[in-house]
Symmetry: C2
Subunit: 330 residues, 2 copies
């Protein structure tokens, strides 16, 4: 692809020839750097789509109210009626989002909600958030935007957050739901010595993230026992493999529900195959693939996918890249 | 456990005080060293049972015909009518087994049998083995014993090799089988500067080794498509998760068949839980657990097991230990 190569030449040349302290990337630079940061993300199995990342250059925006308005726009543009677009919004200096993802469900001390978000929920509550009067397992948390040592909370509007009810094709409604957009909001984009601390990005989900982790993990929604009961499985003996059977059915339900709702979501077989094709394109282009095997294998039937038998090496310093900031708490 | 501690003191003291070139361990030393080698095996999730390893001190035996007779005895004692006993046989110097496991099924160029064993099958054929006239998917290979640069083949007798026919509890006979004993025969036992190149050992199987790898892998028996057909699954679309469903059913069939035949086999849920208990005992005893995450997680629903969320470090030089010799071809 010549335009990408041309853009690459441009970027390396320009990035190298500028003084780091005064360098102000053009939107074209930024766009290319964000895409390459994705391409370099060692843990991401969705990287085959990297050239299609939509980059919103919002480096002139740091004021919390404006940031929030642009986050709402991000959600709308990325949602795109279900045909989700991979999108990143790069904000100006001095601003940071506390939440690890833009959409997160509250986790309450009594067990309701997402246990993984208990600390985040407590922190947001300390900052002034009140849970709804009728608490549920799926109460969307506000987003906390920090500027100049001050943190402000913003509540999503109802149509900002798109969700899918989880229905099993044979068992029926499981009383579960999940949001359509995973928007990681606590990683920093770094390249050419620059750091963008507020640069939330999203792709779409792989079904196992929802069906084999978020709704299944014992430290998350832990819904395998309930589903196994509804499926009539023998939960008294591990050797009935009721966990494994319920797990597959939960993932089928996630796929079925997102498909029925017309919301983009990849299955782990197709996505890992695409990932291996991406690896081959990268090698053909003379680039080494950065990778972390334990994150790239899916948590469902991993040995049936082509990543299982491959090996990967990780360069933890590779830039452009996305990094967990030492400051972020979640 | 005082007797184990006493034995430990003895071993470390004795091993340290002897000149490596003249040191000749007692049977008690050897027994303890072999058990600790198992305890140190970074890839083994069955290590909770390490104190129960039966050690056969056969260091006076190196003559091929005698070695083979003792291998037959090993199989019989380890088999124990289905209540499998973890067993190691330590032979004398100058002898080596070519096969990576004592029981292996031939892999033929036309696709019949176990594709993983094609090279081994070719080598054994070059050494004089003839496949049966009626070749099948489960032809047991002879064992090749090398001494002094000369290799001799030995055929197992019918009752040396115990096998289980794989029957699914609802679908019925799958036309598959597997042997009951995994006996690794190409790893060296090393401790106190000594190397025992011929020291085959066995435990029993974890069901996923057979159901999620040997019979399922595309590079092995590749039987998921056939089983999916018999289950009436939609194999035209990955999103039906037919691979994942067939995989669970194949593992259920393995568990069901071994249980029905009264042959010991662990499921991956119970075994990983036992492994974590072993880790805790080790830490309580002040020992670091040697581990390799990518081998310890099972290939079926790994995130539902307690090893998934843990992390492990590996010391590749740790002795006593089992090592893949640089000389072994398989
Ligand atoms: C297009 C659809 C996408 C899919 C299906 C996808 C898939 C995944 C999956 C399954 C993970 C592992 C998540 C986990 O286990 O917690 C992951 C991690 C990651 N992805 Fe992607 N991804 C997509 C888009 C993106 C985009 C657009 C970016 C950035 C521009 C990105 C960057 C990352 C990074 C940095 C991680 C590691 C996160 C961490 O360290 O916590 N991905 N991705
Ligand atoms: C008692 C039942 C046992 C179970 C259920 C068990 C389970 C396992 C499993 C699942 C693996 C990974 C195999 C693979 O993926 O190819 C493994 C590897 C291993 N086990 Fe065990 N094991 C048992 C007994 C033993 C014994 C008795 C020893 C030695 C005395 C042993 C030493 C090892 C070693 C050295 C490996 C690594 C093999 C390699 O590098 O290829 N295990 N075990």
């Amino acid at each position: 692809n010549t335009s990408e190569l041309a853009s690459h030449e441009l970027a390396s040349h320009e990035l190298a020839s500028h003084d780091r302290t005064t360098f102000n990337p053009t939107t074209e630079h930024l766009t290319f750097a964000a895409r390459v940061a994705w391409r370099n993300a060692a843990r991401c199995v969705g990287r085959g789509y990297w050239p299609a990342l939509a980059v919103r250059d919002l480096r002139h925006i740091s004021e919390p109210q404006q940031v929030f308005r642009e986050l709402q726009r991000h959600l709308r543009q990325a949602w795109n009626g279900g045909r989700i677009r991979s999108t990143i919004s790069v904000f100006g200096p001095g601003v940071r989002i506390l939440n690890d993802q833009l959409i997160r469900y509250a986790g309450y001390p009594d067990g309701l909600g997402d246990p993984q978000n208990r600390r985040l929920t407590a922190e947001l509550t300390a900052l002034g958030w009140s849970p709804p009067v009728q608490r549920s397992d799926f109460d969307v948390l506000p987003v906390a935007i920090e500027t100049g040592g001050r943190t402000q909370l913003f509540e999503w509007q109802a149509d900002d957050v798109q969700e899918v009810a989880i229905v099993h094709p044979e068992v029926g409604d499981l009383g579960l739901r999940w949001h359509a957009l995973p928007v990681i909001s606590n990683m920093e984009l770094r390249f050419a010595g620059l750091t963008y601390a507020c640069a939330p990005f999203n792709g779409w989900y792989m079904e196992t993230e929802i069906g084999a982790r978020n709704l299944a993990d014992q430290g998350r929604y832990d819904r395998l026992p309930e589903l196994a009961q509804r499926l009539g499985l023998d939960t008294a003996r591990e050797r009935s493999l009721w966990r494994d059977r319920a797990l597959v059915e939960l993932n089928r339900a996630v796929l079925h529900s997102f498909d029925a709702a017309g919301v983009r979501l990849d299955d782990h077989h197709s996505l890992t195959r695409q990932f291996v094709a991406f690896e081959e394109r990268e090698r053909a282009a003379g680039r080494r693939v950065n990778g972390q095997w334990d994150w790239l294998i899916p948590p469902l039937s991993p040995a049936t996918t082509p990543v299982w038998a491959r090996s990967y090496r990780e360069d933890r310093e590779l830039t452009p890249g996305f990094f967990h900031s030492r400051r972020s708490a979640f």
